[in-house]
């Protein structure tokens, strides 16, 4: 068991390191011209050289990567036109266009994305599992067919189209926008309501199907029949005995989904104008802000890898039937 966890952790670390090196090579060593972008159209050669110097673009590739890694672990110093800026660990550099540390920008963006994803997850878990469980109990009836059919259709509508139409036409919902939770939980929730409903309702379709399938399987098991034969009420059999067994596969899918949504809330953020991780990356794309792009990609990778690791390890505890190979 311990060996398995150790192996998974090592492989996760290797993935993060390779992502770091590969994306660094892609972003900073490709024959791109970041200094020219920062300098803008009216650029003097002296200013260009100064910028290149401050970004260490004149150094060999290996030492550039080394100083970037060093910045993450212990922090580094930036030399811009004679002034020295201290960038404490974990340092991901300074934004080319905003002049702020990338870590600060990311730290401001992450709570927004997390709020969207977690709130959406509450909606789709509640709606999806409840609908799925009900559909499983009335399997084969027209109600069941209606549920399955409508999940199919909801799942097939392009998400950005759905979100856009909600944003444009569902004007009865409160205006969306991000207000920090600690300032006022009520405005926080009302600003995110539309986004939550969008994320929640579209994903609920998938969760309805998952939980319907796994509830049908669980309700066909012997222990459910035994419980029913002991005279336990149907409601208790379904929601206490069946649901508990039926939810294990759903929980696994949920863990992986959650990680992907954290890195893929871009459409929601962009359509509802919420300044999260995706919008930060989008803005950086438009302005060719490489350190921010790189930081966004790195944070996304780490979130994804860590979540996958947690799900894998949690699964071995949740389901004793999983054999470790």
């Amino acid at each position: 068991m311990l060996l398995y966890i150790l192996k998974r952790v090592l492989s996760a670390i290797s993935v993060v390191i390779v992502t770091l090196v590969a994306s660094f090579a892609l972003f900073f060593l490709a024959p791109t011209d970041p200094a020219g972008v920062i300098c803008g159209p009216r650029c003097t050669p002296e200013r260009l050289a100064d910028i290149e110097d401050s970004l260490n673009l004149d150094e060999p590739a290996v030492s550039q990567i080394a100083s970037y890694m060093k910045g993450i672990v212990v922090g580094r110093e930036y030399n811009t036109g004679g002034t020295v800026r201290e960038c404490s660990a974990p340092c991901l550099g300074y934004s080319y266009t905003l002049g702020q540390p990338v870590t600060k920008l990311l730290a401001a963006a992450l709570p927004v994305t997390v709020s969207i994803v977690v709130g959406g997850a509450v909606v789709y878990l509640l709606v999806g599992i409840l609908t799925g469980t009900i559909a499983a109990q009335v399997r084969g009836t027209s109600l069941d067919k209606l549920v399955v059919g409508s999940t199919l259709i909801v799942q097939s509508i392009p998400y950005f189209v759905f979100a856009l139409l909600v944003a444009l036409y569902a004007t009865f919902l409160p205006d969306s926008g991000y207000h920090p939770f600690l300032d006022n939980p009520l405005t926080w929730a009302s600003g995110l309501l539309a986004a939550w409903l969008c994320v929640g309702l579209t994903n609920a379709a998938a969760y309805t199907r998952y939980s319907r399938a796994s509830m049908i399987e669980a309700l066909g098991q012997d222990f459910v029949r035994t419980a029913a034969s002991k005279g336990i009420s149907r409601r208790r059999v379904v929601y206490r005995h069946g649901l508990r067994a039926g939810l294990t596969p759903v929980v696994t899918i949920f863990g992986i989904d959650l990680a992907f949504q954290l890195t893929g809330a871009i459409f929601t953020e962009s359509i509802f104008n919420l300044p999260g991780l995706g919008q930060l990356t989008l803005r950086a794309f438009g302005q060719y802000d490489l350190p921010v792009l790189m930081g966004g990609v790195l944070v996304g990778s780490v979130v994804l890898v860590v979540m996958n690791l947690v799900v894998d390890i949690a699964y071995t505890f949740l389901d004793p039937r999983v054999r470790l190979g």
Partner: protein
């Protein structure tokens, strides 16, 4: 094999082959002995599925629109790039409703013909999604076959790479990588011609989507091959000295038709969505390429004044993706009887 043929011969002659079998075998009755491959059986099942037939026709309809886009535009007498500034008032709104000359009306602000942009817009969606689906399928199947069959260090490396690709934040990379590819293709963006940028965007989109798309299919194929390669017919082929290439493509591949077809049918609609979505965000295709994603992005500012402008591409992409997804679902049911509801 011999006893089976004997049995068949006996059955044809009318004598019971088994003491337990019913003796009432009618010697006159013609037995349908045409052999059907599993693929043919699945296709026959698919033809009987009404939803599948309707969805396939809708898909074919869109493909025809894309192929005959120039012809359709000519039929209307317009093209997707001409600016009709005379039909736009000083606030940027079109002064004419849809009419015989402009079937869907004209775009606000620029005044380009909307019907022409609609028919041409079907092209990039289908070309990008189709190309990416073909590329990822070829790459995924080849790598999966090799890793599963050869095993050893190759398998270990490939498995790690698959895990690696699958654990990258796909959408973030899809935004970040084209930024770099663009400068590789056309240099600094400021002095590049719009058409060059559009072409570079087109290719970098295909490259990025292909890079992230092959891994899940490769993993699936590798798993299937791992179980297939222990079967007798593969051992037999190996003993007979059949070259590895032939074992892979003549022995193993035909057994993998079902998972490959299912994966293709699921991949196509998802790439159409991703292309339109990224284009909508401004990181996919760009002007002057006519694309539904671009039209939707531009039309969201006019949704009240000019709802048709927004709703035509919205409905087109929704219907296309919906029918492809439902078709994919039917294909999965037809090829994989275990999933039948």
């Amino acid at each position: 094999m011999e006893p089976l043929i004997e049995e068949a011969e006996l059955a044809r002659a009318g004598s019971p082959t088994d003491a337990m079998a019913s003796p009432a075998v009618d010697p006159e009755k013609k037995v349908d002995t045409r052999r059907k491959s599993p693929t043919q059986i699945a296709l026959a099942r698919l033809r009987k599925d009404k939803v599948a037939v309707i969805c396939a026709s809708i898909f074919a309809f869109f493909v025809l629109i894309a192929i005959f886009a120039p012809l359709l535009a000519k039929l209307e007498g317009q093209d997707p790039t001409t600016l009709h500034q005379d039909l736009i008032d000083q606030y940027g709104y079109p002064t004419i409703p849809p009419n015989g000359e402009h079937w869907f009306g004209v775009e606000p602000r620029l005044g380009r013909d909307l019907f022409a942009r609609f028919v041409y817009g079907a092209r990039p969606s289908l070309i990008v999604a189709g190309t990416v689906t073909i590329l990822t399928t070829i790459i995924g199947v080849t790598i999966g076959l090799l890793a599963g069959f050869v095993g050893g260090w190759l398998d270990r490396i490939v498995s790690w790479v698959i895990d690696f690709v699958l654990s990258l934040p796909y959408l973030l990379f899809a935004i970040a990588v084209p930024a770099v590819l663009l400068t590789l293709f056309v240099g600094t963006a400021e002095n590049a011609a719009a058409q060059d940028v559009a072409n570079a965007r087109f290719f970098s989109l295909i490259i990025v989507l292909s890079f992230f798309g092959w891994a899940s299919l490769a993993r699936l194929i590798r798993g299937e091959v791992l179980s297939l390669r222990e079967r007798e017919f593969i051992s037999a082929a190996k003993v007979l000295g059949v070259p590895t290439r032939k074992i892979l493509f003549k022995e193993l591949l035909p057994n993998l038709v079902a998972p490959i077809v299912i994966s293709v049918s699921m991949a196509l609609p998802s790439y159409i969505v991703v292309e339109a979505g990224l284009t909508f965000l401004g990181v996919g295709l760009t002007e002057p390429t006519p694309s539904w994603g671009l039209t939707i992005a531009a039309a969201q500012n006019y949704y009240r004044a000019d709802p048709l402008y927004l709703w035509i591409p919205v409905l087109a992409i929704t219907i296309l993706v919906l029918s492809l997804s439902l078709l994919g679902d039917s294909i999965r049911d037809a090829f994989d009887p275990r999933t039948r509801r």
